[in-house]
Symmetry: D2
Subunit: 282 residues, 4 copies
């Protein structure tokens, strides 16, 4: 465990960076350019993945940040270290079974078996389709395959990597960071990603809850039911007009930590969070 010499407990955040960070793909898509985030609090700069990573690092975990390209997570790693935390970056491409296997070998060897796994991966396929291609029949198979890799096959592969050790130890937390589109199949509106495969993240969470709770592993699906504050989202028109609907990722991350610290006599397996001016999604 060369990267974690003091043997801290390990928290892995799969998809620790944000497509809405200052140079994220959604930010570029929505704003046409990068955004200067130097005046944005550090807890918010990398969306929910960054806030969770900082929270668990602050609580004493060795935090593993996975991302497709290490450079994307470097500023977040710097921030964690500046706050006195410890972390490492591991490259991981959820589309590739080999990449998943290799990444978790690296994590086990250099950091140790994960105590906490938070699956925060996302995708933006479908988001740039024009209105005349709104219906499902116009979704390319490639878009579908990517959405399915991130939201269905990827979590399955990750689960196979981390659950055996958690089960043998009799403890561990496996949480999904999800959105309201995971609650049921909905129409895809122009400008939205092809969200419906996200239902499979929630479904896998339900499966693992039933299969692994008795083995001491706490599984939960977290439904973040609104727009998360970040460099790319806070300047969107709808956020400017109604700031009350913007969710604070620092506070959401506290919810993940609350789940992790729940007594096993009273585990919550789905936690939905909704900004107060909004009717909760069903």
């Amino acid at each position: 465990m060369s990267a974690n010499p003091s043997g801290k407990q390990v928290a892995v955040i799969v998809g620790a960076t944000s497509k809405w960070q200052s140079d994220g793909r959604n930010t570029q898509l929505a704003h046409g350019q990068d955004i200067d985030d130097s005046d944005i609090p550090v807890g918010i700069r990398w969306g929910i993945g960054g806030a969770i990573a900082q929270k668990f690092a602050g609580e004493g975990f060795f935090t593993v940040l996975t991302t497709r390209t290490a450079a994307n997570a470097a500023p977040l790693a710097d921030a964690i270290r500046a706050q006195g935390g410890e972390c490492m970056i591991v490259e991981l491409d959820l589309v590739s079974e080999d990449s998943v296997t290799t990444a978790f070998e690296t994590i086990r060897n250099e950091a140790g078996d994960p105590e906490v796994l938070i699956y925060n991966a996302g995708y933006l396929e479908g988001r740039d389709l024009p209105p005349e291609r709104e219906l499902l029949e116009f979704i390319d198979v490639e878009m579908f395959d990517t959405a399915q890799h991130i939201s269905s096959r990827g979590p399955f592969l990750v689960a196979k990597q981390v659950l055996p050790a958690m089960r043998k130890k009799g403890e561990g937390s496996f949480f999904f960071s999800n959105n309201s589109k995971s609650l049921r199949g909905r129409k895809r509106n122009t400008g939205e990603s092809l969200y419906y495969p996200r239902v499979m993240m929630r479904t896998l969470s339900q499966v693992l809850t039933e299969e692994y709770s008795e083995h001491g592993i706490h599984v939960a699906n977290v439904v973040i039911d609104g727009l998360i504050d970040s460099p790319g989202t806070r300047s969107l028109p709808k956020a400017q007009e109604n700031p009350g609907i913007i969710m604070n990722p620092v506070k959401i991350a506290e919810g993940f930590f609350y789940l992790h610290t729940q007594d096993r006599s009273c585990w919550t397996h789905e936690l939905q969070m909704t900004p107060h001016p909004t009717v909760p999604s069903v």
Copy 2:
């Protein structure tokens, strides 16, 4: 506010005592007598209502304990005061609109407007019906009426008492302490209460969530999905055989307090808690 001279924030627990406390009606029904609770930790002696009351008192709230007969709550009030907390007991019969009105006038006059209202009332109607009277056709109208008073009309009356002041102030918490039978209509098995009216507590929680969130009031239904530790439950055969299924009320109460302290950008409106060896109810 003669009872609360220092003007602490007020938390009202409707139904603060437990039918499973040492001399509770369920305890007597299950065990044929009272139980000596002197060796049971004080956090557990009065079930979930007592644990919530102690938690909020410990966090600095002036805690109002409602009960049908003041003497039932006296030991709990003593325990709170012994822990350095402040509280008062108010008699309240949810079947009577006059009683509800009078009780909340007393609360407002002597303690102040509630900041937190936790509806924890229960009933045991139906629990002692023999197997040959298991089906709905054998439920007496009186039993149905009592169940409906506690789980449907009572919360409606209480809501009318506390929501106006919360709305004007723009803040407050209104939480329901409920069980898994509130999730949908289920068969009543011999030995169980007539639970199905409890669905109305959850339904009211959903109504108030949609109506009052935008006014700054946090509404939530808490589904306690198992057997709560208490003098009367811990000695039941099923608890003796599988202690892992017993839920710690002190830890459940922490969940209520977590809800109360959630940032309003990320409110949870339903929190289900399940002991780890158990498949969550749906």
Copy 3:
């Protein structure tokens, strides 16, 4: 069985008339006067209750029409007889336990034990509240009590009247005619009834499904998820602008009859029907 000398199977429609019929209370509330229905097809004149009654009468059932005031159902009874069907009107006030008891004694004595019971009762409490009284805190206790009588206590009383004979015979159908507000608690919008107690109709349907299916009784909740065609609704502005959202009660009634004729190896216990231009309620 003086009213049913040929001993036809008996179908009881509780609430066979419509508040949207030509002289109904909703019609008067929405239009300020009665409406001439002479050019409206007879299948549609009395909303869903009238259509169900005509369907079952047409299929050979002796049909019992319950209503608070017999005169309200006289035109419907005339229509059924003109179509060659047989029926009787029985006055029934769901608020009164005595009235429920007496009405079903009459039904049993004059028509026979019901083979089919369709609970179609409704209420309009809350519908005329002004916008400044939209929130729950402004609902009068009397309004709540009426809503609860019709949607919770009433069906309980009716179930106690008809289930014993069905159970002994080992067959029967008990169907609820409900709306989408029965699916969960929702905000009451100005102009709407206090719908949330309707969740209890659905909950009772779930309870009876679990308790009585094995005894050969088919229980189902029918969610009519839109505006039903009737004299009072077809002339509403929203119906005039978008006729596709108007549901044909004759076709809905066929759905009830399909349920009744399902083989007991494949019973459906909830049937939601939605007009095609509309997203189904959840």
Copy 4:
């Protein structure tokens, strides 16, 4: 339309054969050999797919039977023709995008655009895993991939093939034949298939309902909530002990036909069917 010279409306049953037919893979797995089905009524010999095909053929549709290997469907095609119906067999492997494309080109060319598409494909991956491999961590990636091809990617590909023509015509029915494991993620018990990807069939049904209803296409998920009668299932011990739990596929097929004939003012988008001695799955 060489195969359908009289230009009948076309109903396609994807997966028209049964793994429980006399020589089906589940039959062989459960019984160790083929079963003689000569004394079993023809409506039941090929499970639900065969019953649906016979029903729509009997109602005048030209019925297309897809299957991976044409020989598997030959006896069913013979039965349909013996009943006076018309049909054709088309080979289709849902794992292959090319196969899906080619099969529907054949269908369009030789039969015409489908009016009705019923997706009845299944898989048995996971069913023969031993008890020590019950947990998700022991599921091979290949098993997962097959399950996902049949229940998620396959229906997506089929939808892309048939929806454009239905949309342009403004009518059509697209129904999923599914089981209760599609309702939420559940533990896989030893002896069961890896069912959880079936949730995606239901989810796609919800997506298409919201996207295509307004275009006149009726989409529905049918939850067959029990054991379907067939040569391979009727001799299972649990069926022998409790024949009431066996569902009649001929009657289930009538439910599909009822859905197809519903008036578009009252479309049902999910139809669950449960045998009467059984509590409905949730």
